[in-house]
């Protein structure tokens, strides 16, 4: 097995573990940290797959900005008392009990199929440096309709947040 394939498998396993942890752990703060860790491992995978720009965005936006947004939201939400917390812990454990079993079954079946298929280790691609040279051209010159859509979405998001906070301010004043 080549070194890059070994590293890729380790990083993929860490990504899956971090994201499963983010979903399964009960405190939401740990969930947000698990999500950030998953984004961090995914960033390294994107670098290994020659997508440096996507990796930088993944690291700065997903592991940075979105984590900060989630942690801020968690700080603003209600703190439950001890009895309610214990009841919710039990409910949460029961709700997510089947997930590790499903994931283990899928991993065993998938892993066995990959092992038995006798596949070559790496895909047959002729990756060149051209992808990096063309990226700026692709981002700014080839896209038209999706840039308009993206601008509309960003504006909608900005206006949405502005309206939410405006309403809150009006209610506080009343």
């Amino acid at each position: 097995m080549t070194a890059s394939l070994t590293w890729m498998i380790i990083l993929l396993a860490l990504t899956v573990l971090a994201l499963v942890y983010a979903i399964m752990v009960r405190p939401l703060l740990y969930s947000a940290i698990g999500l950030a860790a998953g984004s961090l491992f995914l960033t390294i995978i994107l670098f290994m797959l020659n997508s440096a720009w996507a990796a930088v965005f993944e690291l700065s936006v997903c592991a940075g900005l979105i984590t900060v947004v989630f942690i801020s939201a968690i700080m603003m939400t209600r703190v439950v008392d001890n009895d309610e917390n214990q009841a919710r812990n039990k409910e949460h454990r029961n709700r997510f009990l089947q997930l590790p079993i499903i994931l283990a079954a899928v991993t065993v079946i998938g892993g066995t199929l990959i092992y038995l298929a006798g596949l070559p280790l790496m895909p047959e691609t002729s990756v060149t440096a051209a992808g990096f040279k063309e990226f700026g051209e692709m981002l700014w010159q080839e896209r038209t309709v999706d840039i308009i859509g993206q601008i509309i979405v960003i504006l909608a998001g900005a206006f949405g947040v502005a309206v939410l906070f405006k309403k809150k301010k009006e209610r506080d004043n009343r």
Binding site: A32, V61, R78, L103, E124, F132, E134
Partner: protein, 102 residues
Amino acid sequence: MSVLSGVILLAALLIAITAIYCLLRSRNLIRIIIAVEVLMKAVTLLLVFAGYLANNVALTQAFVITMIVIEAVVAVVAVGLIINLQNKNNSLDARHLGYKQD
């Protein structure tokens, strides 16, 4: 198909199953948004790997960057709505949406 392709597909499938399970089972609104984010990670991984296989990483990176921007906007707006709902209902439970809590 290769071992690397198989392992990446398996990892993306595991991540997607985890997120969809959480979307179906969880009642906590913040956890539901986290599940949407996790599902986006699986899509990002598959998109970038598709570009790697087709030797067209530039195009897929442009799409991934668009997706990340929209993901951030969705997260910010959703969190704003959730905080508003929490202030109104005093609950993060999706079952309490639309009902005033005493």
